[in-house]
Symmetry: C2
DNA sequence: GTTATTATACTTGTATACAAGTATACTTGA
DNA sequence: TCAAGTATACTTGTATACAAGTATAATAAC
């Protein structure tokens, strides 16, 4: 048996997670990476067997994924929706929407603390790049935006973020892993962009913020093919557990 | 034993609902109405006993309510958050956000079908007023906005709506029941407002739409006291099941 | 060969059982 | 009286059992 990546989702991020959460995280990665194709029908019993857990955590996981819109619970079986180009655009619509809203709030707040916090995260991102740690980089990237959103203390905006976050995180994770392999200089651009974002918050420059957000979006546009490609690479090392 | 309202949520809307959903719907109403006070700690076992179901559907319900931000799942027990003035404002922030987004999309679409559909719903609302049916009125009111949102076919905006909807629905339900009692002429204003909304969509008049949305919001602002009052009235007829 | 009907192997939803962990209260020792 | 430790009555998370419903396949009737 060859050395293989058993799980797509970083195990160290699951230290305190329940079995249900683990199933949700891993299943989500498999769906977003394309390992499980859109249209596939998932069975609670089969998933329970695959993940060596009972149906309870599987049910929990399916409910979570359904609320994130990447599967659809039907009368018999859960149908995989996945992330096509359309869904990714939609997610960025929502991100643009909420981050713009958040920015308007920030414009009327003291943001020096936030700026400091964001600068720290940016440094972390740079270190992650230096050591080619795609997972850590993704983590800090997501944290960057979450930190901004949390700063305005709006529970229902945070609710939207919480719903979006897992899918975003998985997508970014897969995307970054691919880019560390063959598009290494993407990262200077990403870092620049985040610097722009911080600057926009510091100077409360709305246009600059919109610009950097859009740039961030353009940066991810058309990256779905990359995702498929990275999936190909990953699945080569994955042991298929089909009996 | 006096004639009493056993459940706050209309039972006829639960015809096909699972036990878990029923618990979620009813618990949500009890929380939003204030019957269960903010800060209360809910126990799975106690809820299971209260609703005469097992822990499985109760767990399901708590997960749902937690994702809606009206309870918070902690290590031991679920803490009730509820809806204060702040939360209601936040919900309307989000509604404003998504409905504005939706309107921008509608402005680039054929909307004659939608306008017809909305007109129908508006007529339904008028009938509901005529027959003093607060529940039916609330249902059509929520449906009105959902119909607009569904029209743009945006799965992630719909996801936000789906997360918001149950809380909105419960809130509107309670609010309308109260107003049917002592603020009957509020309804002419609400109808007018919805007519304005339809007109805005028909003529693609952005400013008119924003205006009617804000008016709709102002209309609900400061109505939390009404809610408490209506709760007082309701709970008078509720049989307390505390043994 | 085609249609109806019955069997079977699935599905979900709910109840219950159990393991492991945590707070509260009660001892026991000083 | 107070501190430390232990017992107990909770809590959650997971596994399993079972009922009720649904699609698929096999059989029977024509």
């Amino acid at each position: 048996m060859s050395e293989s990546r058993e799980f797509l989702y970083p195990e160290k991020w699951l230290s305190k997670a329940s079995a249900g959460d683990r199933v949700a995280y891993e299943l989500r990665m498999q769906i977003i990476s394309g390992m499980i194709e859109s249209g596939t029908i998932l069975s609670e019993n089969k998933l329970a067997a695959d993940f060596s857990v009972s149906r309870s955590p599987v049910r929990e996981a399916l409910k979570i994924l359904a609320s994130e819109n990447i599967i659809r619970l039907e009368r018999m079986g859960a149908v995989v929706i996945g992330l096509s180009e359309k869904e990714i655009e939609e997610i960025y619509d929502v991100r643009l929407l909420i981050e713009t809203f958040v920015f308007e709030r920030l414009a009327r707040m003291e943001t020096s603390e936030l700026v400091k916090e964001l600068s720290k995260i940016l440094e972390m991102m740079k270190v992650a790049i230096k050591y080619c740690d795609a997972d850590e980089f993704s983590f800090q990237d997501v944290l960057f935006h979450e930190t901004i959103i949390r700063a305005v203390n709006h529970s229902y905006i945070l609710m939207i973020w919480n719903n979006l976050k897992p899918v975003m995180e998985s997508f970014i994770l897969l995307s970054m892993r691919g880019r560390f392999k063959d598009k290494y200089d993407d990262f200077t651009r990403i870092i620049n962009n985040h610097e722009l974002y911080i600057e926009a918050i510091r100077t409360k420059d709305r246009n600059l913020m919109i610009k950097s957000l859009h740039q961030n979006f353009d940066d991810v546009q058309g990256k779905v093919e990359d995702l498929w490609r990275s999936q190909q690479m990953l699945s080569k090392g994955v042991v298929q557990e089909n009996d």
